[in-house]
């Protein structure tokens, strides 16, 4: 790869050998290390998703099919690992750790993040936690679901403690990344890079970092208490000892609800970049988009109770949480309208990153609107723990975050590797993922409305037709991702040399060679204008 650059000392060929990667403090290399590991976990979690869908292809009573996973115990385990891997190892770290690590310093004209060694340490934390969590699969499998609800997680004989410690360590990694980003944004901006000249992706990462810092410690202590409960029986969550299992849910969702915004806000940041670049137009309502990220982050701390509408909390609490949850829709809608307004009368080019951004708009709109439905107390009581909820959060997390991650990845691929990918294959990959996604998850809204409960490994024949469609959709998604992988691998192997700025973007990272040199910029940039000076 390096040989094609006659005059290029860049971050890839700056040092050689595996050891130089494992000990690197270069944020760009750490971003790539995250990329490889997250892609691996995505593969594992994805295979588990396919297995779950295969199991649900037909009721177990049907001849030939059904019973792929032998029995409900195995199904529960696969379900748990699918959820835990996708949440803790793919979607939460995804955009901040890969694209954020790589591009945040480039975006603000810094040479590196504020604490490069801590950055590397957070990758090792992530790997250690992930290893601990995955190793449980080979000792005593865990079947609690990724939420580890008490009292089941305490009573079950499976590896709750080890899994929970793994999640705790991954949480530390998340805290360290967030801390690093906040200080980097505060202290390392290039001359002239005021807060209001930062790209919106940086604003999104900044808001996310605040969430990571404020929410994760609470999850940390919750998981430690759960481990202590299981090992030493401390009694805080155990009703037999006067404790309260619902307290676990309160603690858990006080983190894990903000965590869903840790998953989606960076995606919104990526989409802001893509929409303005490929519409050739200055983004509409820059400050509104920037501050709505902070707004979502702030409101997210007051809505955890909507996970507990049927937990036996007071009716007043339910009504309040229902109302506050709907407030999240306000800053979210601000963003949506601004993106649409940006495209209005723009010169839109449908390159593959833009396709993913448009896919994001479409899918996230469905996910968001069904979110408002679920925030409505009486509707949630009806839809609680049905496939409607499953469809909703897959639309938000996969349709939202993963679409943005893919779009951002194609957008920045030329900058990261100095090569172009095969545009047609990438577009085809989008088509398969987008159609496949809707085929998989839209029927689940209907299934949920019909009353099919989530987490079950078998169902009555009335649900068979829609489940068949859903499973076929999962194969389309698989095809789409394999095509995407092929586009990337072929791009790396024999892609054309990428120009410095293939999309004619205006942000700083495109003002440095592709791939960037070890110190990011050959000359320190001086910023004199906002990030999107199109027209």
């Amino acid at each position: 790869m390096a040989a094609t650059h006659a005059h290029g000392d860049n971050y890839i060929n700056h040092e050689k050998g595996l050891w130089s990667w494992l000990t690197t403090v270069d944020h760009k290399r750490i971003g790539l290390m995250y990329m490889i590991t997250v892609m691996f976990f995505f593969l594992v979690g994805g295979i588990m998703a396919l297995l779950l869908r295969l199991e649900l292809f037909a009721p177990n009573a049907a001849a030939n099919v059904g019973g792929v996973l032998k029995n409900g115990d195995v199904y529960n385990q696969v379900l748990t690992y699918h959820g835990a891997i996708m949440v803790f190892m793919v979607i939460v770290p995804g955009i901040p750790a890969i694209l954020g690590n790589f591009f945040l310093p480039l975006h603000i004209g810094a040479k590196d993040v504020a604490f490069p060694k801590i950055n590397l340490a957070s990758w090792y934390c992530f790997m250690a936690g992930a290893a601990l969590a995955i190793l449980t699969f080979f000792f005593k499998k865990i079947d609690t679901g990724w939420t580890f609800y008490t009292p089941y997680s305490i009573k079950t004989g499976t590896a709750t403690v080890m899994m929970v410690l793994g999640a705790f360590i991954m949480g530390m990694s998340s805290v360290l990344t967030g801390l690093n980003f906040i200080v980097t944004v505060h202290k390392l901006r290039a001359p002239g890079m005021t807060m209001h000249r930062m790209p919106l992706f940086v604003w999104a990462l900044y808001s996310t970092a605040i969430l990571q810092l404020l929410a994760t410690p609470v999850l940390g202590i919750t998981l430690l208490l759960l481990a202590a409960e299981k090992l030493f029986g401390v009694g805080i969550f155990d009703p037999a000892l006067g404790g309260d299992p619902v307290l676990f849910q309160h603690f858990f969702w006080f983190y894990s609800h903000p965590a869903v915004y840790i998953m989606i806000i960076p995606a919104m940041g990526v989409v802001s970049e893509l929409i303005t670049t490929f519409s050739r137009k200055v983004i509409f309502g820059y400050t509104a988009i920037a501050y709505s990220s902070l707004g979502i982050a702030a409101v997210s701390f007051f809505v955890w109770g909507h996970h507990m509408f049927v937990s036996g909390q007071s009716e007043t609490a339910g009504i309040l949480f229902s109302f506050i949850t709907m407030l999240v829709g306000v800053p979210t809608a601000i963003k949506m309208f601004n993106w649409v307004a940006t495209m209005y009368k723009g010169s839109i080019s449908f390159d593959s990153p833009m396709l993913f951004a448009l896919g994001f708009l479409f899918l996230f709109a469905i996910g968001g609107v069904t979110g408002i439905m679920l925030a409505t107390l009486p509707i949630d009581v009806h839809f609680h723990d049905t496939y409607f909820v499953v469809a909703h959060f897959h639309y938000v997390m996969v349709g939202g975050t993963l679409m943005a991650l893919m779009g951002g990845f194609y957008y920045w691929f030329p900058k990261m590797f100095g090569k172009m990918f095969n545009e047609n294959v990438a577009r085809l990959s989008f088509v398969f993922i987008f159609i496949g996604f809707n085929v998989t998850f839209f029927p689940q809204f209907i299934l949920g409305a019909m009353g099919m409960p989530r987490r079950y490994f078998d169902y009555i024949p009335a649900y068979e037709q829609l489940n068949k469609i859903s499973t076929v959709g999962s194969w389309l998604i698989l095809t789409g991702f394999l095509l995407g992988l092929w586009a990337i691998v072929q791009g790396l192997r024999k892609g054309e040399k990428a120009p410095m700025n293939p999309w004619n973007s205006k942000t700083l990272e495109w003002q440095t060679p592709s791939p960037p040199p070890h110190d990011n910029f050959n000359v320190e940039p001086i910023v004199t204008a906002g990030p999107y000076e199109y027209r």
Partner: protein
């Protein structure tokens, strides 16, 4: 805190490549440490919320539990930690005045105080184990003669809170030992003391948390 008379050559010798100058590096480091302390406080904050909820639900049970703690031991430990915070603080001041030997002595005293704290903790714990005062479901109700059926929860909180705090004390002792070695080696001086100050802030926060735990566990009731 800072002695800003020296933007000269020695000071810039410590600047990492991605910082423009020592001031930027110092400010970044300090902000990072404080942000990390925010996460520490939030982590202990959640367990304090749990304590508050159950104290509200079972005031008599918490009262009964608090009686079996020896407030004298806790009080001595409080004094030990406050003194160690003082020695930690003066070590920074010595480093800033290039008085390396005195700084090393102060740091060594701080580690020693941490050790005394842990030894007292050890005696407290082993005494409780001896009496059968284990956490939660392991509480030996017959041996203890508990008036309240769920007295074990009080000790659940006691061991969880003091245990987590104790782990922090141990980590702090490790970090200060590392500082001590580096101080003797001459790494810190009037132009560079950021790690000493950073660990110092950590140590103060650990002390501060104990100052909340002591009245909550030992004195309430």
């Amino acid at each position: 805190m800072s002695t800003d008379n020296s933007h000269g050559a020695i000071r810039s010798a410590h600047v990492s490549h991605h910082f423009k100058n020592a001031t930027q590096e110092y400010d970044s480091g300090k902000q990072g440490i404080w942000l990390f302390m925010v996460t520490e406080i939030l982590m202990f904050g959640a367990i304090l919320v749990g304590y508050a909820i159950f104290h509200h639900l079972y005031p008599e049970m918490f009262e009964e539990g608090a009686k079996s703690l020896d407030w004298r031991m806790g009080f001595i430990n409080t004094l030990v930690l406050i003194f160690s915070s003082f020695t930690m603080a003066i070590s920074i001041s010595f480093v800033q005045r290039n008085e390396t030997k005195k700084a090393a002595m102060a740091l060594a005293t701080t580690v020693l105080c941490g050790a005394i704290f842990m030894v007292i903790k050890y005696f407290e714990y082993s005494h409780k184990f001896h009496l059968g005062l284990y956490p939660g479901r392991f509480l030996d109700v017959a041996k203890v003669g508990a008036e309240h059926a769920n007295l074990g929860m009080y000790f659940g909180f006691y061991y969880a809170m003091t245990g987590l705090h104790g782990i922090h004390v141990l980590v702090g002792m490790g970090l200060i030992t590392w500082l001590l070695i580096r101080t003797i080696r001459g790494d810190f001086h009037a132009q560079y003391w950021l790690p000493v100050e950073g660990v110092g802030i950590f140590w103060h926060i650990v002390d501060l948390i104990w100052i909340f735990l002591f009245p909550l566990l030992y004195l309430v009731g």
